[in-house]
């Protein structure tokens, strides 16, 4: 098997991009929301971040084979959030230029057009431990100029709220079906860090409801290739049924 772009699927680039979020994180809980982030977290733990902790999505900490190695009920989970030993990759119904995220409702909060989940734990997560985002369908509906209800705190909102909000605030990356975005700009506005092979910069700009910053020099690199060993792990060990291809369709 080669690792050329011709045979690596878009979903697999997304897995690699998600896995990279947990590189060098040390002994923290990886909390992936969504299928591809979950494959990514397990890939990271199997390869370059073996110290990561994983959960079964319920009350157990589990090893790679799914067997329990610890107990983490909701209230202890919340303590781990505030203790900072966690790097969550959350979803987002809306996400703006400074990383404010909305999962609560669409439209005016007092009488929403569409009620969604509610803010859940997004406020506590974002000011206490690193939070990345996963967006399986990159579009102007998600990437908006201004979110309707700030659930997860973005860089501008944290700065406005003061040192207690910025002290532990960090949004490492946003992974989508098209690209990897980060906030590595002087004003922490969203930057196009890489595009997945097969995607153009124009395509990403077109699908984003605000102007994206570009890397210094203006050249946008491609998301890195998986190694042969990583591809084998994804395809044969972690996700042999290919569920990842249903979350992000092959192109």
């Amino acid at each position: 098997m080669t690792t050329s772009a011709a045979v690596v699927s878009r979903a697999e680039y997304c897995v690699i991009a998600c896995a990279e979020a947990w590189r060098d994180n040390g002994e923290v809980l990886a909390s992936p929301m969504g299928l591809i982030p979950s494959v990514g977290a397990r890939l990271a733990k199997r390869t370059f971040s073996p110290e990561l902790m994983l959960t079964d999505g319920e009350a157990m900490l589990v090893g790679l084979d799914g067997s329990p190695e610890g107990w983490l009920p909701y209230r202890q989970h919340l303590a781990m959030v505030t203790g900072g030993d966690r790097h969550v990759m959350m979803g987002a119904s809306q996400l703006d230029r400074f990383g404010n995220q909305n999962i609560s409702c669409i439209g005016d909060w007092s009488r929403p057009d569409r009620q969604l989940l509610g803010v859940r734990g997004a406020p506590v997560n974002t000011v206490n431990n690193p939070v990345s985002y996963w967006v399986p369908k990159h579009s102007r509906r998600v990437f908006v100029e201004k979110v309707d209800m700030i659930s997860g705190v973005g860089y501008d909102s944290a700065a406005a709220a003061g040192p207690s909000a910025t002290r532990y605030h960090r949004l490492p990356r946003v992974v989508t079906n098209l690209a990897v975005l980060d906030f590595a700009t002087p004003d922490h506005s969203m930057r196009l860090a890489s595009v997945h092979p097969g995607v153009t910069v124009e395509e990403v700009r077109e699908a984003t409801g605000f102007a994206l910053a570009l890397p210094d020099g203006g050249e946008v690199p491609f998301t890195r290739e998986p190694t042969a060993a990583e591809l084998r792990l994804i395809r044969e060990v972690i996700d042999p049924k290919g569920t990842r291809e249903r979350e992000v369709r092959p192109v």
Binding site: A122, V124, S157
Partner: protein
């Protein structure tokens, strides 16, 4: 006590905390009894699931205090959504951790607890009554002062209980049920089975499974399948088929068939079984 006896102790206008989480170990038998009563105008405090959806659909909620409402396997609770989109109740939307600290404050008889959550988010915008507090120590940090969520009554469901009000959970997660009981002036615990007084919880009891203490409990109800259709591991899983029915049936139709005003738990359970028979 019976579920209906519990409800005779509840009054319109009360603040009621409901245990469980999403569509897991919800005290549904007690919620069903509430739905058969005339109690209304409630402030409901819940990590919300179908308890919130049903009470909202039936127009019993004046204010909801919550961080989310979900059916887990069905991410968005349709009746809660409809009620929000029609503006039929007021909402105090807080973060999950703020909610937990609100219960802790109430359980510890404190007016508030400081929490690093909410600041910077629109939780502060939509709750203009929320205040911040500055640390009196050298750090000088500013936190949200999460007000106590003191409850007039708490309703929770556990796997086993004794008649004195000690409650045992056998599933993987205690959720926040003991905190709900401690934060309440009166707490009512329904259980899958009341343990025999002679045996108690048994000689091989795992002590940390004894979640709810009798000093914090006012009444105990034996309600087999009392969490239905939410999960109550390991006694029963979520009834996914029935949950789907609930989520896709107009509320008046669902209520007419499964929750008639003159019904009771027995009637509910036979209606559920009859429905399952029809699906075969």
């Amino acid at each position: 006590m019976s579920p209906d006896e519990v409800v005779t102790r509840l009054r319109s206008g009360m603040t009621i905390g409901i245990g469980g989480w999403g569509s897991r170990r919800k005290p549904m038998a007690l919620v069903r009894a509430l739905l058969r009563s005339d109690v209304t105008d409630l402030t409901v405090v819940s990590y919300g699931g179908p308890d919130v959806g049903m009470l909202a659909a039936a127009g019993r909620i004046r204010r909801l205090i919550a961080a989310f409402v979900t059916l887990d396997s069905i991410p968005l609770e349709p009746h809660f959504r409809a009620a929000r989109e029609q503006g039929t109740f007021e909402l105090t939307e807080v973060d999950e951790a703020m909610f937990m600290w609100g219960l802790h404050a109430a359980a510890n008889r404190l007016p508030f607890l400081p929490v690093r959550a909410g600041i910077g988010s629109d939780v502060m915008r939509v709750n203009p009554d929320l205040r911040t507090v500055t640390s009196p120590y050298e750090d000088g940090e500013t936190f949200v002062a999460m007000p106590a969520l003191r409850l007039d009554a708490a309703l929770v469901h556990v796997n086993r209980a004794d008649r004195a009000g000690n409650g045992q959970y056998l599933g993987p997660d205690p959720y926040f049920d003991d905190l709900f009981c401690e934060a309440a002036d009166a707490a009512y615990v329904s259980c899958e089975r009341i343990v025999d007084p002679a045996d108690g919880f048994g000689k091989d009891v795992v002590p940390q499974s004894l979640l709810v203490k009798r000093h914090a409990v006012t009444g105990v109800v034996e309600a087999p399948n009392g969490a239905h259709f939410t999960s109550c591991a390991p006694d029963h899983d979520r009834d996914e088929a029935f949950q789907k029915l609930y989520a896709t049936t107009p509320w008046p139709d669902f209520a007419a068939r499964f929750l008639p005003r003159d019904g009771d738990e027995e009637q509910y359970w036979s209606a559920v079984q009859a429905w399952h028979e029809e699906q075969k």
